[in-house]
Amino acid sequence: MTTSHAQPASLASVASARTLSQPGTALLGTGLETRGVHAWFGKKHVLSDITLDFAAGTVTALIGPSGCGKSTFIRTLNRMHEFIPTAAMAGEVLLDGKDVYAPGTDVTKIRLRVGMVFQKPNPFPSMTIGENVLSGLKLAQIKKSNTDELLESCLTRAGLWNEVKDRLNEHGGALSGGQQQRLCIARSLAVQPQVLLMDEPCSALDPGSTFRIEETIAELAKSMTIVIVTHNMQQAARVSDYTAFFLSDGGPGEMIEAAPTSKIFSSPQDKRTEDYVTGRFG
């Protein structure tokens, strides 16, 4: 359904300006899929029946008003949801075809393959910049011989190498917010994940940093699958290949519509999607 509002038209044009990245090479595995995922906090049903495919090598944006469960959903993907004592779930999350919640699964191995960048940058203050980047290796007790190479490559891919190459032995606290976030991205790259989850990574940052990080996302998408939760529809239009729209009407959050990004912004199928992307609410 076409509309005459200026906003969706420009979002759509931004979205269609991106070339749709071709889903997966064999190197990236079959990516991530969820089948009928539900989530609860105690008796409160917060997510209902989310079935979504994240094809390998694509960037998927999750949009929707606050409180509709996007962050909860993303945390079910790398099994961080279970840290909340009252949390419960149902459904399957398949990584390369295998359910990450299957009994006997080593959860630390899952988290190595599905990394996460948080909304508020959280580098480890007791470690230097270099140690921060390589901390994932230490934490998972992965032995690696040539860490310098890995260090440089991760920082380069995160767009931070030039700014910190001479200060690798300084503490992370001296960096700006945007630099800290790129440090966190570099840190999550060191363990070479297949999937990178990003929970509103730019919402605490200035526009300049946001732009740099969006560039980084574009680069990273060439070698991994990215799922990004964002409140910023322009950002979704800029960086993602696919977009999924979440909504809660007071009950559990549901996924209303998922489609290639350009389609969601130019011709959304569901009226609620259209209302959201045209700014009528949220």
Binding site: A88, M89, A140, Q141
Partner: protein, 348 residues
Amino acid sequence: MTQTIPTPQKPWQPTKLDRLEDLAVVLASFVLAWLSVQFTGLNGKLGFFISLFFSLLVLNFGFHFIKQGSAAAKDSLLKVLTVMAIVLTLIPIVSILATVVSKGYKGLHWGILTKDMALASVNDPIVGGGLGHALVGTILMVGGALIISFPIGVLTALYLTEIRGPLTRPIRFLVQAMSGVPSIVAGLFILSSLVYPVTKALSGLMGSLALTILMIPTIARTAEEMLLLIPNELREAGVALGGTQWRTVAGVILPAAKSGLVTAIILGIARIIGETAPLLLVTGGGDALNLNPTEGAMGSLPYYIWKAFLTGGTPEAFARAWAGMLVLLAFIFILFGLARYLSGRKVG
């Protein structure tokens, strides 16, 4: 489209199989420990526990190493160590409680709370005396200490939370320093400043004063914590209604903090009720019932227990001591239970 909602699950929790495996490892450790005691030079309870310690660590590590790799194995080591630490912490507690009950029970008799030791000696048969005088003494002295400590403690807490004037940091530092004063030093202080120069006699009042030194910091700190729990909106509302700060404090904050202040009192009492050293120095520990705190030696539960232990050598004497300990512990239990109950209720 209606769908059936699936049941919420927690697939990350240990399964029955996991629990059985853990139990099997623990049992295997016991067996291994028992075997090593049989076949090596280690002997006795200590030998068993030491080999149990090592077996638990080694078998857990080995099991998890095979199942999940080295990171998980090291992780399980930490888990085993922390559980052992908790067990080690619990063992003395259980032992102490069991001892007090089993040994103190022998010293209990119907007249224990009413009789005193004026006519009996610690080595006499149990029924011949009691700790009534000690109980009364403790109540009088703790009460006396409370009368002085409560206002000072609460005023200090109020200064720290409400007024927050320039002396806040030094006062907070002093309260913390005061809470670390060794009890015997408190006794020495009263001895040197009041008993020797002024009254030249030991009495219950001196005991109260020594206890006050120990009680004030406890009341002040607990009261401060409780006052900090009161939401600021209450204070703002009081001021908005046109009250001065003292009016707000008296009319709004203190009533709201009522249960918290009672908790502070209870914890203060629990802190000093078992203190022995200062009382040994300044109260004289009488054997007869003495209702006058300003004159004459005054007994107390800790002094009674101490005397029975130190001056007697017979089973009767020790039974008296343990019975006194049982009574003292019962009081502490009750006080703690009250404090728990009160802090479980909402503020005010």
